[in-house]
């Protein structure tokens, strides 16, 4: 029983990190109509940049690491949007072109990591060591720190989307790009910022989860697929759906990993996704599955 509760707490924490990672992906689609298949590579880049700063070439503390790495991943995203995505926007087959271009970009970025850092797995130390006992349950500080950080980022994100001018522009573009343009919202700038925020969230996820999983140059793909499954299960473009699906699947991962072993996690996730789609083809909270 006690073990079960601890597993659930772990699942809940992983769930909120998964939510962060997945929400970046869904945001990018909801606002910019871009399905970014290189999303996982930014996860990898976030983790490796953090490794450079925290282990490899300097021993900065994690607070500084986040402060340096997050803007870098943001700028990488903006650059990708400018150089690759924007020129494709005028294409009639935009979806298809973006899909292939970002796939190619993912391979490029992953292999850049491979060339620079080598194929050996790396790991980040935990943010905080030791554990705390609350009401009879043992929780590691690491898990608590992850939870707090992820929760803070999530709250900032919600406030940003609801209150700031940029956030409101993003929502306006998501609802109606042409209407937004008519009222003077600079579409391309909003697209670029959205892309940057989404890659930044992916990078943040990379740093948060790196102490838990080993880092490999191709490790980002697992998280791209995890983000995909969460996003589809929750309903593409729906932030609320992503939140519930993130928690659901995070807890499921902890339970499956505890009872059956980590190798079963992805098959079980896929089964859940399959069942969700059979019952609700647009995901738990999706509106109608959009054509195109």
């Amino acid at each position: 029983m006690r073990e079960l509760v601890e597993v659930l707490i772990t699942g809940f924490t992983i769930g909120i990190v998964y939510f962060l990672v997945a929400v970046g992906f869904t945001l990018c689609y909801g606002v910019g109509r871009v399905l970014n298949y290189s999303y996982g590579s930014f996860f990898t880049w976030g983790a490796y940049l953090a490794w450079v700063l925290a282990v490899g070439y300097a021993e900065l503390n994690y607070f500084l690491v986040f402060l340096i790495v997050l803007p870098i991943t943001f700028l990488m995203g903006v650059a990708v949007d400018r150089v690759i995505i924007r020129p494709l926007r005028s294409r009639p087959e935009f979806d298809f072109s973006v899909l292939l271009a970002t796939l190619g970009l993912a391979v490029f970025l992953d292999n850049l990591v491979l060339v620079i850092f080598g194929a050996r797995t790396k790991s980040l130390p935990e943010f905080l060591e030791g554990s705390v006992t609350l009401a009879g349950f043992t929780i590691s500080w690491q898990l608590l720190a992850m939870f707090i950080f992820a929760a803070v980022v999530a709250v900032i994100l919600f406030v940003f989307m609801a209150k700031t001018r940029t956030g409101m522009s993003m929502r306006a573009v998501a609802q109606d790009p042409i209407g937004a343009r008519i009222v003077g919202i600079p579409l391309f700038r909003v697209f670029a910022i959205t892309f940057g925020i989404s890659t930044m969230l992916s990078g943040a996820g990379g740093i948060l989860l790196a102490p838990r999983f080993f880092m490999t140059p191709l490790g980002g793909w697992t998280f791209l697929v995890k983000a995909l499954i969460i996003v589809i299960a929750g309903g593409l473009g729906s932030i609320k759906g992503t939140l519930y699906a993130g928690f659901l699947l995070g807890i499921l991962e902890a339970l499956v990993g505890w009872q059956l072993g980590l190798l079963w996690v992805m098959p079980v996730w896929f089964l859940v996704l399959f069942l969700v789609l059979l019952i609700r083809p647009a995901g738990l909270f999706g509106a109608v599955a959009r054509k195109g």
């Binding site: 271009a101 993912a106 391979v107 292999n111 491979l114 499954i229 399959f274």
Partner: protein
């Protein structure tokens, strides 16, 4: 960015129509039929005669066999990507399942490897249809997401499937080679392998050719040109797509089955990213929706990859960048460039005074 290819394929059919430009409805039918047929027959004749020239070099023959295997797969994939508009990213999954089906039946059940070809094809088709049933009801992008998830999940699934004889992480090896009338195929003589591969490749060419140039293919052109009108004629996108997904899975599984016996080993590594991205470049480079371009792309990619072998890690870096560049600069690949050249020549010949060809029947 895409001036070359865009101009090349702009014809009367899609002039001024926003959705046009990718599917086969956008080119003059009779001409491309001739070119398709000519190129297909030419390709087969060259391949049939090539062993006379390079038959001595086992190495080159091996590259050619591998090219034909992947050539068949890229044609099958292009049926979905370029013609049916189904963004399936799980094609390598069908290939791996075909390979596993054949390998498992011959190693665990002692079946004659030749039957494995049928089993592989059946496995590919069945899984493709099963995957298609839930995903084809969804919009195009969902198909891409769902099939990618399928592809990524397959590798752990085959690893945990050790209990049913998938061999876990290490896979199945060695796998029994084919035998004809007492003669067993070996690695030192590539000629028999080559002609079996050629036979299977021709099967892929023929099936794809007829799928495209038939009522079946016509319904896709109709759906592309005007979906609601096509539907009013009784064409169901779902049904037609599901059928073509089945056909594509069948051909892919068939090639997978042959691949298993040819390389004598099958493991979850087939599902690695490298194979997937190779396939993407083959189709892209050859030309999406430009039969038989993707097959030609396969030959180029296999030989290019062999040539770049010494670069090791940098090779995938180059290929990744190549995908981005092709998408941005020449989205219709080599066949698209051929189209442009042809159009250019015809325009020059017809009347140099006409400024554009929009509105003129070409």
């Amino acid at each position: 960015m895409s001036i070359v290819a865009d101009q090349g394929t702009t014809s009367r059919a899609d002039a001024g129509k926003p959705g046009g430009g990718r599917l086969p409805g956008d080119r003059p039918k009779a001409l491309s039929l001739n070119r398709q047929t000519g190129m297909t027959i030419g390709l087969v004749v060259i391949l049939a005669l090539l062993p006379l020239v390079v038959g001595d070099s086992n190495y080159t023959m091996r590259l050619l066999v591998v090219s034909m295997i992947w050539g068949g797969v890229s044609l099958a994939w292009d049926l979905l990507l370029g013609y049916a508009g189904v963004f399936n990213l799980g094609q390598v999954g069908f290939f791996a399942l075909g390979a596993y089906a054949s390998a498992m039946l011959s190693e665990n059940a002692g079946l004659n490897p030749w039957w494995g070809l049928l089993a592989g094809a059946a496995a590919g088709a069945v899984v493709a249809v099963l995957l298609g049933i839930p995903s084809l009801r969804l919009a195009g992008i969902y198909v891409a997401l769902l099939t990618l998830a399928f592809y990524e999940v397959l590798s752990p699934l085959l690893t945990v499937g050790e209990a049913i004889g998938t061999g876990g992480k290490r896979g199945i090896s060695p796998i029994t080679p084919y035998t004809i009338g007492g003669y067993t195929f070996t690695g030192s003589n590539q000629i028999p392998w080559y002609y079996v591969a050629l036979g299977l490749f021709v099967v892929c060419l023929i099936v794809c050719y007829f799928a495209i140039n038939s009522r079946f293919g016509a319904s896709f052109i109709a759906l592309h040109d005007s979906e609601s009108f096509a539907q009013s004629l009784g064409i169901s996108r779902y049904k037609v797509s599901l059928m073509i997904v089945g056909v594509s899975g069948l051909l892919t599984g068939l090639m997978g089955a042959f691949y298993a016996h040819y390389t004598a080993v099958v493991s979850p590594r087939v599902l690695g990213l490298e194979v997937f991205i190779y396939l993407v470049i083959m189709v892209l480079l050859g030309g999406v929706g430009k039969f038989p371009g993707p097959a030609i792309g396969a030959f180029i990619v296999i030989f290019l990859s062999d040539w770049l072998r010494e670069f090791e890690n940098y090779r995938m870096l180059i290929f990744g960048a190549l995908v981005v560049v092709i998408v941005m600069v020449a989205p219709r690949g080599i066949m698209g460039a051929v189209d442009s050249a042809q159009q250019f020549v015809r325009r020059r010949r017809a009347s140099p005074a006409t400024p554009t060809d929009v509105g003129r029947s070409s």
